[in-house]
């Protein structure tokens, strides 16, 4: 799993410490999240996405998402 938390955090000029305080976790948890080493709960993922004015889909990239981009189905009315 990879994340774009660092990138989105930079966009809103927020430090790891600020984000940790906002989502009520330790700073190390944010560090491991950014490194893709920690799989957060849906609740934490939602809180982080909300804090960064983003969505869970934008922030978290799973390996199978990367390898098969063509296989995504887009529904059009």
């Amino acid at each position: 799993m990879q994340t774009r938390i660092k990138e989105y955090r930079a966009r809103v000029a927020m430090t790891q410490d600020d984000l940790a305080k906002q989502v009520e976790v330790r700073r190390e948890t944010i560090v491991f999240l950014e490194q893709g080493k920690y799989n957060p709960s849906l609740k934490l993922a939602h809180a982080v996405a909300k804090a960064l004015n983003s969505s869970i889909d934008d922030l978290f990239i799973f390996d199978d998402d990367e390898s098969e981009p063509e296989s995504r189905v887009v529904l059009v009315d």
Binding site: V25, R26, T29, Q35, K37, N39, L44
Partner: protein, 130 residues
């Protein structure tokens, strides 16, 4: 950096236990064990309160990651304890190693406490349990 309520309570309990430990030792010298236990436990509360205050300050002491690692760690500790006691039982049953109750219990306490620490160090450094 303000003192969180939890750490304040730890410090207060520590001071109370140390004081009552001293009182017990001075006034009821025959109850030396109780006095000593109160002193040691009080000291542990006091030190924990100060260390956690210094280390975390206003930040949360635990979050979902630390709780997850802690829960997994404890389940591994339980398994380790089970295997250890199973081993002790068979060693005793087969007359390979005969330990008294006190030593067997003391060893179990050491194994459980040491493994509790060990099983948490690695996942904390790695980031997650998986």
């Amino acid at each position: 950096m303000t003192l969180r309520k939890r750490n304040l309570y730890r410090i207060i309990i520590g001071i109370l236990m140390i004081t009552s430990g001293f009182v017990t030792l001075v006034w009821a010298s025959r109850e030396a064990i109780i006095g000593t236990i109160l002193l040691v436990a009080g000291l542990a509360f006091l030190v924990t309160g100060f260390v956690r205050y210094k280390r975390y300050g206003n930040d949360p002491e635990s979050d979902e990651r630390s709780r997850k690692i802690g829960a997994y760690g404890l389940s591994y500790v339980w398994l380790t304890g089970l295997f250890f006691m199973f081993g002790l039982f068979w060693l005793d049953y087969l007359n390979i190693l005969r330990l008294g109750t006190q030593i067997a219990l003391a060893l179990s306490i050491v194994v459980l406490a040491a493994s509790a620490r060990l099983y948490q160090v690695y996942p904390f450094r790695k980031g997650d349990i998986e």
